[in-house]
Amino acid sequence: MASVKLTEVKKVYQGNVVAVHNFNLDIKDKEFIVFVGPSGCGKSTTLRMIAGLEEISEGTVEIDGEVVNDLQPKDRYVSMVFQNYALYPHLTVFENMAFPLRLDRNYRVFPLNEKEREAIQKKIDSGKLNEKQLEEAKEALEKGKRVRGFPQEEIYKRVTNAAEILGITPYLTRKPKALSGGQRQRVAIGRAMVKDCKVFLMDEPLSNLDAKLRNQMRAEIILLRKRIDTTFIYVTHDQTEAMTLGDRIVIMKDGFIMQVGSPTQVFDSPNNLFVAEFIGAPKMNIVSSQLVKEGNKYFVTPFGSKIEVDGDKGAKLLEKGIETRDILLGFRPEHAVLASKPGPNTIKVTLLVNEMMGSELHLHLLTDDNTQLIVRVPTIQLTDKEREEMVAGKELYITFEGKVMHFFDPETEISLLCEENSPSKQNIEALKEAAQVK
């Protein structure tokens, strides 16, 4: 139930190894943010800096408007689910979930139950109290009792509630080693749920589960999010998880933010080559090509074809005043189509391998100059005869429309349509520099 703001956050390890560079992000209250990227890109480190498990070398982290750099994890009011669950092996499931509640030392006001109410009423009626005590008792009746930490009933209530939501009530008396991976994961989530927390952190929680369980848990996390209406920060290396779960995705590489945006934004307008190839499976096809400007129209010329760049993209290119130049051209496998017959806007390819995926065919194609491409074709689009003829060696023709194209500068790998001042652009350039220094 809080916003998180990271300003110029940097993490430097001993020996001047920079794990996270100049991380800037504004997370709104109740947003579900996903940090995604390959191993070693700094996403877990950033998460741990927010949690307080790593020291912040530079910059500030604010939770709910308060700078938390110097606060211990227990003072930050965050909850965390770890990749390997980190359940306390010597405690039962109930005790595991109750652990944070038992450690709490804040004062809270709880409503009284019947017995306590009667007891206080009796005391008031007995007339044995002096003025001050009388006032306190009346106040207690009105507002409730002021207690440090959580009383046992409250703990019981919270834990059993959470257990019910997660479906682990039958396991409350078991120890973690008697549970399966998926059940342990739920207990870990339960432990994080029972606290009053401002931010809910998850560090690759699904990585240790098998594929089927992963899909199931993914759906459950989405449901969970509706139940606990709070800010989520989720770290993963799996772009599918990022796309399905996140309100906004932060894509990182080598400690730099590559792009921040909603799943749609990131999918439709990747800022650079890395993001374009990272999101979407199978990877986007990238080929060297030329962008040709003729009058007010733009064309791309991959492998001897000539395809027009129409619509919004063409207009944007015009706005930016882009002239004829070399580019890296990108198009997604699902956006290319098989042409029924060759034409000026088709590319001639030979089929290498045909992967039958069930509802679609993944065709691995080879162009005349030995570039490999992948194209996804829904099975129902082909007749049975055509499907049978899809064997290695067959000649095919593919084409794609202008509005699904992406253009990247061959040297900087930045998208030509990327905004000038976007911070991602600065990061991408900095990343390139750093890579060259090495």
């Binding site: 741990r48 949690a51 307080g52 498990l53 211990q72 994890p73 227990k74 965050v78 909850s79 965390m80 770890f82 990749q83 390997n84 980190a86 359940l87 306390y88 092996p89 010597h90 652990f99 944070p100 450690l103 709490d104 432990r191 606290k195």
Partner: protein, 315 residues
Amino acid sequence: MSEEKKNLNPQVASPVSSSDNIGKGKRHMGLKAKTIAGNTIIYVILVAMTVIWLFPFVCILFQSFEVDHTNMTGNILPVKWGFDNYIRLFTSTDFETGGFGRWYVNTLVISLATAVIQTIIVLCMSYTLSRLRFKGRKFLMNFMLVLGMFPGMLTMIILYRVLADLNLIKQNAIPGLILVYVASSGMGYYVSKGFFDTVPKSLDEAARVDGATRAQVLIKVILPLSKPIVIYTLLTAFMGPWGDFVFASYIAFSTSAGMNVAVGLQSLIATPSAMSANYTMFCAGGVLVAIPITVLFLFLQKYYVEGVTGGAVKG
């Protein structure tokens, strides 16, 4: 396509052709026979080892019952059985006041106190070096490594003088010994540290995010999981003083009341004349010392083994 397949596996030579039933059977039995032969040899060796290893202790046991004195010549079985030696240990007035009973109690007190205090100190040290990160940690570890390269005996003299000034020698050797054993025990943190290193760090982190201070993490999370290593440390700390000869003798300085069992028993057979008179008593004393420790050890063997194999290996 099919031509390619053939060329990949030019010769598919089967070691045993299916038609040769006799050959198959023979080979099969050959393997088994080899195993049986091998195992028999091993059993023989193991039995021999058992005999060799247990032999001296069986001897001590038997000779402790010998009522006659000098039993050094090859007789193992007592000529005359009796508990004389045991009785004499406790009641003899041959040496200064004290005697075996006193030594035993001394050593017991020392080892109990040492066990408890040393365990606390070692665990503090090894936990800190294993889980907590602070400036100077590497320096501290290297420093103690270097300190450990000095032979321990070197410090004996001055410690003796210091203890003498504090009047903790001779009769009062017990507190002195305890102090010395315990004070520097922090340097023996390696095995415990190795154990703590194997506890996953994410447990610490989960507890800290849940709201525990570092002290609470140690007490509520790590310690309950460390039963094996705690027991191992207690056990080794307890067993240590029973066998310490060098230091105890120096500090006790030939005052019988201040000796521990090691020094005391050694004094029994220190000279040849004493040897001929007290040899069998020495055996009896040895049995009395060995039995409780062995029993304790057998009960806690599981933990000891876990400690040695788990922690010691990392170095």
